[in-house]
Amino acid sequence: MREQILAIIEKNSRIDLRELAIILGVDETTILNEMENMEKEGVICGYHTLIDWEKTDVEKVNALIEVRVTPQRGNGFDSVAERIYKYPEVHAVYLISGGYDLLVTLEGKSLKEVSRFVSEKLSILDPVISTATHFILKKYKDHGTILGKKETDERMQITP
């Protein structure tokens, strides 16, 4: 049941409880309990909205930053990651296998703002060895959703 709920709300967090109960063939209380438990257990971490900011007047710049760091005695990469994720402009921090250690995604108002964050906040941290910043030019697909393309029904309208 949990997986089924998650599969649906991952795509549509606005679906109402009653409808969820109907399409999964259970009663509302079951859904409500499961959702509350999953929130408590931290399985469900939030209900966000996927926005194509390109279509608004808001200027935003997104960047991916590769960060190489020196792991710390006792807790490896965790304390460095924590140091970085506390900045509100940081969107995501992942520990990565391969050529570098942390992938940091960042959102700023302008190129300048992002650059300043990297040079003034990120690079100067002691464990940080180097950074490489990549600006995102265009988002084609995000969170499994193709942006900007409207779905059309190619089928004939009536078929046996």
Partner: protein, 391 residues
């Protein structure tokens, strides 16, 4: 000039669905929601399409062997074993066809002589009756009943049998009713089939869209394998309607004769589709499971909505159709469908398009997104409420 046409073909009526299709097409109104489509709304899963593209890149643009690629037949054989516990030899008991449609046609042509009677339970898919006529047989209709949830009962079967009866067409899970036959239902009719020495043409194209525990094939009932031509395909299970790929499985002496018709009339099923289908069989189970779950959610939504509306409707456990009864409004299915289309711009198919016993019912397809279904249900609710008020 002489009449260029055969009397057999001229006496066959064109499909009743055609008329409705023309009306909806002519409206050409973007606000029209059609719930009249008999094919999945999902695109073919990408990894399957990718294999098709890859086969073209590789230059695999030639005929395959008549019966289909051996590799594909072996995969189908494994799939039938894994999913339905059916055993068919890939080399001698199987034929890859141009959709399930071709399989229906050639099976009938290979099995009947003029005057043989073919039993066709209705409401059901539109091609059985004309195919039987074209094969020279006499179609005999069994009218399935709402009170039996449109399942075929042993009694109904027994009543339709004469000494000319040779074949029973068994279309379950059913288009347009959504009815299924469970093991106990199949066991009951199998007894009658064996007693009267009949054969079964079992069209199981919707076998993957079964919302009870599991689809059961009649070929799985003791004593029935040797009497059954099993028809299935990729259209509904893997959302591959446009690829035109199906298959027939039967004892060797039947396949041998079907093979001849296929060889002379078709040559082989589309090569690109066959390569893509190998991947569908090998790596497609999870896609099928996901699509089934999605259809099931929509099915529950519609069943619930119809209950709330007070529209009489049995719970369908198969395919992607729901078949509500509209007899309370004192209109024929055709009238209801037309008025509903005019008033609320929702297209549904009158039950009569699938046989006279579909009178008083509508076929509503749920091969549509929940969002679309919600809008359509609102419109239906409004329409039904008005009709009841004006009574």
């Amino acid at each position: 000039m002489r009449n260029p046409l055969s009397s057999t073909i001229t006496q066959i009526k064109p499909s009743g669905i055609r008329k409705f299709f023309d009306i909806v097409s002519e409206m050409n109104d973007p606000d029209v929601i059609s719930l009249g489509v008999g094919e999945p709304d999902f695109e073919t899963p990408w990894h399957i399409r990718d294999e098709g593209i890859y086969s073209l890149e590789k230059g695999r643009t030639f005929y395959t062997s008549n019966a289909g690629l051996v590799e594909l037949r072996e995969e189908i054989s494994k799939y039938l074993k894994r999913r339905y516990d059916l055993s068919y030899d890939a080399r001698t008991e199987m034929l890859v066809t141009v959709g399930g449609s071709e399989a229906i046609d050639i099976a009938l042509r290979a099995m009947v002589d003029p005057g043989d009677e073919v039993l066709i339970p209705q409401p059901s898919y539109v091609s059985y009756e004309p195919c039987a006529v074209l094969a020279g047989a006499k179609p005999v209709i069994i009218e399935l009943k709402h009170e039996n949830q449109f399942r075929l009962t042993a009694q109904e079967l027994e009543d339709a049998i004469t000494d000319k009866t040779k074949i029973l067409i068994l279309p379950f899970p059913n288009n347009p009713t959504g009815a299924i036959m469970e093991r106990k239902d199949l066991e009951a009719i199998a007894e009658v089939i064996i007693k009267h020495d009949l054969f079964v043409l079992s069209d199981e194209i919707y076998s993957e869209l079964c919302y009870t525990d599991h689809h059961v094939s009649i070929a799985n009932i003791p004593g029935m394998w040797e009497r059954t031509v099993l028809i299935n395909g990729f259209s509904k299970s893997h959302a591959m309607t446009g690829w035109r790929l199906g298959y027939a499985c039967a004892p060797e002496h039947i396949i041998e004769q079907m093979y001849k018709i296929h060889q002379f009339c078709i040559m082989c099923a589309p090569t690109t589709s066959q390569y893509a289908a190998i991947d569908a069989m090998r790596n497609g189970d999870e896609d099928v499971q996901k699509m089934r779950e999605s259809y099931n959610q929509r099915r529950r939504f519609l069943v619930h909505a119809f209950q709330e509306m007070g529209l009489e409707c049995f719970e369908p456990f198969g395919a992607f159709y729901i078949f509500p009864c509209i007899k309370e409004f004192g209109m024929t299915s055709d009238e209801f469908a037309m008025k509903f289309l005019e008033a609320e711009k929702v297209a549904v198919v009158p039950g009569t398009a699938f046989g006279d016993s579909g009178e008083g019912f509508l076929r509503i397809s749920y091969a549509y997104s929940l969002e679309k279904l919600k809008v359509a249900v609102e419109r239906l609710n409004r329409f039904v409420t008005k009709l009841r008020e004006n009574k």
